[in-house]
Amino acid sequence: MLGSVRGPVIKIEGLGVRYGNFWAVRDASVTLEPGVIHAIIGENGAGKSTLLKAAAGFVPIVTGNVRVEGDANASTIGMVHQHFMLVSAFTALENLVLGAEPTQSFGRLDLARARTRANELMKQSGLSVNLDATTRDMAVGERQRLEILRVLFRGARAVLLDEPTAVLSPIEAEELYATLARLAKEGATIAVVTHHLDEVIRFAHHVTVMRRGRTVASRSIDRTQSAALEDELTRAIMGGEPPAPTKAPSLPDKPSEALTIDNLVLVDGSGKRVLDGVRLSVKAGEIVGVAGIEGNGQRELGRAVAGLEPNVTGTIALGGKPFEPVRSMDDMRARRRALAVVHEDRHADGLMLQASVGDNLVLGELGELSSTMDEKNAVVRRIDHFGIFPADAERAAGSLSGGNQQKIVMARALDRIEASAARAAVVLGQPTRGVDVGAAAVIHRAIVSAAERGLGVLVISADLGELKRLSHRIVVLSGGRIVAELPPDSPDDVIGRAMLGMEAA
């Protein structure tokens, strides 16, 4: 099934793809050769995902063409989407064979044969998953491996991945690239869309930069000149000078307490202590980073502080004032006056994708904005400050790119809390997940300016680089506990060990 069949050469020439009246891709030309990892980078909405989808035949092509040259029986192109396309109630094996099920007579499912083939494939590709695990219980990294296996299972020799590392921890990302490199070495055609320049420089062999629907640069990667390359790529992505890196602001002399959490415990439905006595404090004007591997209590920490977990025990104080557990809407409102939270899963807890950008920007504030004029001003201000693109309050939020959706939830939280007299702290879950360099810079500046204005900022992020740049202190969350507190200039491997729950220095 894998063998040494070389993957196809995918030649994309003068490609144009249109959604309605909007040209997602205007003029893109790139050749994807087998045997190397090909990275495609660019800002949100630059047309990277669409390019992949067109290459894989998911979207109709308006102009130009995609030519797939190669062995006829190895020309299948598989795509791993940004959002996993797995049935969460199925086992890994069931998902693996879904749509390409081996059958016995009368169409009975032949899972035994499927298992043999799956095991063979796992051995060949070096990707391993527990075939009997229910998909919803699988970790993100494992689900991703399953997606790739699924593509290979169908005999694809070209694998296109749309932002595969957006949801992975650094260690998982490294493993993924090792796998991809192995597949490439065996002759597969691999293309990866990503936002992380460092990944491109460390792992890719060839890179194509897209900007506003066009391919603006394409070159092979010379790892000996990584600094110059990074600079050049950033310039190509932004179409101009890269933004100055943001730094944590200096701390005030005698900072007051902004957010104090003590002995926070949350037990989930299956009896697992997802938060196991979390204790941390953030001073006014301070940015504290929370590092950790996905699924170690990050999401629950954000939700508990926001007052969305009714069963949480422990104390939470904002601005030095202890807050009661949320029992009523009044408790909730009182907490919201002191605190703004951006939840890490913006699609589940943050956005109404079918509602307009304007509605999303004032969600929850209709009782606080006194008139429609106030509301309009707030919407315009938030779109403007955060450079939400397109700057159209009427457009459905779901039609915006991921980075701009993220700007919506950030703009709503930060702008609202700044206007509140009782403001104390903000908690930001994965503030720049799936966000391009330009949008990330906007968001980072906003985070720093929130701290400068005296808010305590807790940033929960899977992006270590981001935490190291922004934070005054980094705490590490592992197994629902804070296991280490480290200065932001700690080396990656020290933080990494703490993230894995090993004893830190």
Binding site: F84, M85, H347, L353, G364, L366
Partner: protein, 367 residues
Amino acid sequence: MKSAHDIRAALPIVLAIAGGVLLFDLMAFGFGQAPASALRMAFDGTWGTAYGIGQVLFKATPLLFTGLAFEVALRAGLFNIGAEGQLALASLVGAVVASKLPPSLPAVVALPIVLCVAAATGAAVAFVPAILRVRRGVHEIITAIMVNRIVDAILPWALATVLGSTSLRTADIAPGAALPRLERVFPALTGSAASFAFPLAVVSVFVVIELLRRSRVGREIRWVGLRAEACRAEGIAVEQRLLLAMLLSGAVAALAVSSTALGYKGYYELGLGAGAGWSGIAVAMLGRGSAMGIVLAAVFLGTLEQAGLAVNARVPKEAMDVLEAALIVLVAVATRAAAKEEAANKRDDEPFEEKPARAAATEEVAR
């Protein structure tokens, strides 16, 4: 450019109606009637004469209320399929109260009293599925079906025993509680049962849809329907909004009593207005959320009902029921097709599809 798109979007609807006419012809032919003359008869009984128009409006009136009722709940993400029971009990209670009012009471006092009592009754019936959904997470469809059955059982029993009526009807309502017929101002409509309940219904549709669109409560109800979790995270009282939407839905459904007991019969009898609750679902679905859409859908269904009565002598009513159901399906398919066409024209930018895993999986399979 734009008008070309509009025409393309309207095409499925035109085709659906053409298909309906064809189906009607076939049916009439099947029952041994000349299709053209049966069609002529159906037209004369509906839009061909002033009386027919009045009857269409009369038939459309309760559907406007129940269609609006379903729409209100739907916006909050709830399926209020209990309109049938809400309307029935509200009709009984409203008619009983109306019959107890002193005959001398002027309409400006009597009508609001009766309508408020009916609306409150409808809301109370809707409260049962609403509170069970909000507090206990019981699906409102199941509870609403059961509440419908309970109301079905209570009505004849209450009429026969508590109210002591042998003919399963209430006493006549006080004159002040009756809604005048439209023929009073439009003499051409003489003989038809259309009453001022029709303009009341149309105004209600536009007012309520506008409130949903612009008022704080209305917008929050819609937002909760779009993503309750995000609303909860941003401090919106999700449960309260759900409850409110369901109560409002029940109250609006109950107002359909204005066109039946108050505007037409002058009393409530068992079965009066039955079926309107169900047809309301079709109205809301065909209306696709706009006030104009709901009005058009209600008039469309009203036309079908009236056409069925008009040709009853030649084509059995059951055949017309079949036609009505088939036409609703046709129009539903057509409006979906039209909506798709519109969406394709509107869609911009990189789509970030949020597909449920299963839909995505089936798509994968289809490939």
